[in-house]
Amino acid sequence: MQMNESVAEKRIADLGMDDLPLVQIRPVSQPVPSDWFRKYHDLVHEFVQSLTDSIQELAFMNLPQDDFMDLIMGRRMPENLSVRFRTPLVWGGKLELDNLFMCMTFPHSHNMDRFIIEQSGNDAIWMPNPAKKIYLPAHMMNGGDGGNATSDRLSQIAAQIAASRGME
């Protein structure tokens, strides 16, 4: 059944993401290049390394410092983090950094999958489209428990990494 905006917003709120912006797209199948997976893999690495500009959101994820460093340095994706397309490749999305965002795998990315699957067959699909590179529901933006992984500390680390890459 086709969802209108208020139904889509209610459903995404029921899935625990009441502040997640949605955008409606008309899915039209597009050919995907044969080497898309290698390019996607490389793009995800590039995206993760670009997160030095999203320190506040990363800090609210309360990652242990080792996980934070591994993430920012592009060495390893910490558990329970997902990188998603805003517009899927098969529906005309581009393999570009602007077409990606990060969120928690459970419950958010999995529930976004459910939200999209529930609309399958519709002429128009409501897609999650967070304003920033990282989506974290507002109710989870309540600060960390202090220690080494506070926002200030992580900001310092990110600034050092950015400086070492000549990104300042």
């Binding site: 993760v48 558990e79 997902s82 795998t105 999995h110 999958d113 999209i116 699957i117 399958s120």
Partner: protein, 144 residues
């Protein structure tokens, strides 16, 4: 390949394997799947679950018969929980979802066929006769 060889292979890729499941929990999960008209676990999964529950590699997950708690992180849901959420979806009729990554979901049916599904609409993208190949694809595609 057997389940121990599969687990060793996945560990060599860096997978986290959660502790084995009690036989009682496997039976309870199987009963729960049956009552919801999902496919019951094939023998290969029953065997795997005696050595492991959930398996995680990057954003690739094989779900276990019971929820896996992992410290302060959100728990890994059980197969039953995942499939309960999807009851009524026609694309999954007779199938049981057993895994996911950021691009695909994975399922099996009662006839021993395994499937890679599009995570946008659950369209079948690939069929497998070899369950270890399906599980490997699920986890390896999620590797960072």
């Amino acid at each position: 390949m057997n389940s121990n060889e599969f687990l060793s292979l996945m560990k060599s890729h860096g997978a986290t394997v959660y502790p084995a499941t009690a036989a009682r929990d496997i039976t309870l999960a199987n009963n729960a799947l049956q009552t919801r008209r999902c496919a019951m676990f094939p023998a290969i999964f029953t065997d795997l679950y005696k050595s492991a529950s959930a398996i995680n590699l990057g954003n690739g997950y094989i779900f276990g018969p019971v929820e896996c708690v992992r410290g302060t992180r959100f728990p890994i849901p059980s197969v039953v929980e995942i499939n309960l959420e999807m009851v009524g979806n026609n694309a999954l009729h007779g199938k049981t979802i057993f895994g996911r990554n950021d691009l695909f979901w994975f399922a099996f049916d009662a006839f021993g066929t395994f499937y890679m599904l599009d995570n946008l609409n659950l369209r079948i993208l690939r069929k497998y006769d070899d369950p270890y190949r399906a599980m490997s694809d699920c986890l390896i595609a999620g590797k960072f």
